[in-house]
Symmetry: C2
Subunit: 265 residues, 2 copies
Amino acid sequence: MPECITSRENGKIKYACRLAASAGARRAEGAFLAEGYKLCRDLAQHCPPRMLFYTEAALQKHPQLAGMPCPQYLVAEHVAQKLADTQAGQGVFAVLEMPRPPAGLLRPGGRYLALERVQDPGNLGALLRSAAAFGYTAALLSPGCADPFAPKTLRAGMGAAGVIPALPTEDLPAALAALAAQGVACLAAALQGSRPLDELAGPWPGGLCIVIGSEGQGLSQKAIAACTASVRIPMAGGIESLNAGVAGGVLLWHFRAGGQQAARG
Amino acid sequence: MPECITSRENGKIKYACRLAASAGARRAEGAFLAEGYKLCRDLAQHCPPRMLFYTEAALQKHPQLAGMPCPQYLVAEHVAQKLADTQAGQGVFAVLEMPRPPAGLLRPGGRYLALERVQDPGNLGALLRSAAAFGYTAALLSPGCADPFAPKTLRAGMGAAGVIPALPTEDLPAALAALAAQGVACLAAALQGSRPLDELAGPWPGGLCIVIGSEGQGLSQKAIAACTASVRIPMAGGIESLNAGVAGGVLLWHFRAGGQQAARG
């Protein structure tokens, strides 16, 4: 039987809570806390688990937990409640190592998603999930984006954080200019001077980077200026905008590797 | 100056709250309550307004409100709080007539979205918004879907409820079979026996209906059986699913009228 933790003041519990609460603690430790059986299981395929916490009820429901290759701790219900980010917690928590992005990720021919000040963790998670699902190489995050390893982002991303490297950049326009100098076409999701996405012809042998801003503010002028072109999703019926996650999903799908159609415009 | 309402027990306020709270009241009255300046303004282009409520602060911010062609009422802040669905209300509310779907909507050559038990009003609103943005003809809703005129759905749909007719159906599989009998291809978003969407070749001269189930449960066997084919969004990297709104948006974009590419499979 694994060691049992019955105190909310236990050092390991406090450590896990710090990882959940603070991006700085996550950076310093190179680790993060995930919650929920499915999410922990999926992330553990890419991020080595360091510690696993579960309630007795959760272990009965998911006996496979006992096989996870890391130290395990049985926690009392009131301890699980302290670890949980949501009311309806599932009683499963893992401390996992942040994946280390491989070198040479930013290269000609890749598919990238660049995000500027996407503050909402739900939107960030949904965008990372779409980019991972459509085979993108990596995501670039400007300062002011939500943290990809915050509990809410992890939940919305459903494991995407383990699949697609999310690289923080100090200066997104400079990073876009560097990509463009390598021959990667950077497409800004912006109305100003834009073309409908189905008029932008592929294929893009040099690679592509889709650049998306926050739902409220859109992209900065600097980011737009660093891009190769601006692109919009054509809309009918007086609808002015789409849900941010939906708009990003449509762009990422449309410009996925191998998915380019000939221009129709 | 418009009449001023200072009591939360005022008959018109109670009427408006009933419309916000009850799908039955909306059906009986053929009217619904919308909240927020932009949403009320956009909806009023398609749904005749019957009554407008606003606070003095809201009128100062949006003096155009005074020009809306219906009876207007100034409401005290505490009355506005009773009408508001969210904490951060904007102090603008309109009772609007439900749009009456034109006859002959379901016809060969149209583009349709059919939803089965999409209970979450946020998901329903996002799906209607995508369908309206991509020029779909109408939406069909099975029993158990959220109400398209509930406050949360209206907010997520951002005016889509005024643009795209949402038709309740008592028996969705039967409605799909009737569409299919008219030559409309019905595509079920389901894994079972499915083909990747970019292998399904257009054009679809007989029209198309995209059929989507709830995020948790997916489509019923009956709905799948009534469809022409099943379609999936191909995914990479071990990602098993997309956010429901994102998946619907990608399908609706891919199969929009005029948007079909040749099969690549």
